[in-house]
Amino acid sequence: MPDPILQTHGLNSYYGDFQALYDVELDVGEGEVLAIIGANGAGKTTLMRSITGLLTNGPCQILYRGQDISRLRADEVAELGLAMVPEGRQLFPSLSVKENLMIGAQVGRKGPWDLKAVYDLFPILEERKDQASTSLSGGQQQMVAIGRALMANPDLILFDEVSLGLAPIIIKDIYEALPGIIGEGMSAIIVEQDITKALSVSSRVYCLQEGRVSLESASDTVSREDISRAYFGIE
């Protein structure tokens, strides 16, 4: 396996007094696409918030290219080349489509992604660039959210539930676009409830259950039975 770009060691995360993650051990290889699945409340989004620095963690629990990032603020983590497409898209309502994309470039990292590259990927966004981001359809908003993350030219990109609340046809479009996005040497973590979709684009899969890793496997060899067991915790 290639050197890990991201590793977690005994990651414990808390929401106030409530512990949401227990001793999570996880690694993402350079250029690898990792899928994380799990039921609602299993801790997937908490894991994303911990990695991106929106939740603070204990020291040395998260390493990015060997550097301890567990205590960094989210903007400092972003500058290192880690971007997220957040759950529920979370565009900035008072910014236009174009401004939303430009905010993504705020970290100032160089790379192949700029406004033109994003418009080439999602031509509809160029037509709608001056509209309020809230006036777009759900699928188009998801394109803005993905474009916004790409504008940071990240080395590791996190997709949190990109298919949530979208029509199946749109989900299909987005997943067809994903290999082209990730193909450029980027690593990715894809958090997904749609297990088939998650397995189809990833090389390895982790399953979370009640805050613990219940399964780690190669995506192409994992069996449905293993997933059911890891997902629901039943024999």
Binding site: R73, D75, P86, F92, L95, I103, Q106
Partner: protein
């Protein structure tokens, strides 16, 4: 003609109130912080102007070159060092802390400058006027109104056409996601407060040239600023100018009827508008 005069003078006075209000509006818009110490910061700026003019012999308008950056610096330090720590889901801590700050500034000013009323000496600018159609327009009020328009236009432009303005709006929309985009909200808030206090510095100097001031008058300026913001509608800077003008006109008309009614008439106009349109005339932010 006397009534026309009252309306025109009130309109120009509204420019000063809009300057009082612009900083308040900006801060509330970006970080939902209600700054109770805003009026005292205006008075602090006037006193800084006094120190600069007496120490260097500069004209008060020229002193802006020093006072505006100084207030901006104070704003950034205040935000990073104190106010950021009070921001959160609860709106009460910033209210209490800025209230405390208001008391500290007032007493600090009393200690340093005593309670004696002071003015900024602007020479001929204070009394010069031009006659337009039988109404004498003071150069200072005209200048104040012009500056108010320029400041509001400048803030508006900053908000909608610069990277800084984009960052202000993004952080105002969603702090967590803005942070994910590499925007450190603590720094952005610091810049917003610096900008707001830069505007406050202009307001303070113009106030100091127009009337005498002492350490206790901050509260009154805060109320006028609040009223202009609320009348105009939250989050709308041009609305704030309209709010300032309505307040100014109500005051001069009130004073025309009976000199004792000046301040009261402004408050009554504010209450009437609040009763008819609780969100102000041109609201942009709901809630």
């Amino acid at each position: 003609m006397e009534w026309l005069n009252a309306i025109v003078q009130g309109t120009l006075l509204g420019g000063l109130y809009a300057l009082f209000a612009a900083g308040l509006s900006l801060i509330f818009g970006v970080m939902r912080l209600v700054n109770i110490a805003h009026g005292d910061l205006i008075v602090l700026a006037a006193y800084l102007g006094l120190t600069v003019t007496t120490a260097t012999g500069m004209h008060p308008m020229a002193a802006l070159v020093i006072v505006v950056p100084a207030m901006a610096l104070i704003g950034y330090a205040l935000q990073r060092g104190l106010l950021n720590q009070t921001l959160g889901d609860d709106i009460l801590p910033p209210l209490l802390v800025t209230f405390g700050l208001s008391v500290i500034i007032q007493n600090g000013l009393l200690e340093v400058y005593t309670a004696d009323p002071q003015t900024l000496n602007a020479g001929a600018l204070e009394t010069a006027s031009v006659a337009v159609g039988g109404v004498a327009l003071g150069i200072l009020p005209l200048l104040t109104f012009g500056i108010a328009i320029a400041v509001i236009w400048g803030l508006q432009w900053t908000f909608y056409h610069t990277a800084l303005g984009r960052a202000f709006r993004a952080v105002s929309d969603n702090q967590d996601i803005a942070q994910l985009m590499g925007l450190n909200r603590r720094h952005i808030f610091g810049l917003a407060m610096a900008l707001a206090l830069g505007v406050t510095a202009i307001a303070g100097i113009l106030l100091g040239i127009r009337t005498s001031f002492d350490p206790s008058i901050g509260g009154g300026r805060l109320i006028f600023g609040f009223e202009a913001v609320i009348i105009g509608g939250l989050g709308n800077l041009w609305g704030t100018l309209v709010g300032g003008v309505i307040l100014g006109v109500a005051q001069t008309i009130g004073a025309k009827i009976d000199p004792g009614w000046q301040v009261l008439a402004g408050h009554i106009a504010f209450l009437v508008i609040l009763a008819i349109r609780p969100n102000g005339l041109f609201p942009r932010i709901s809630g």
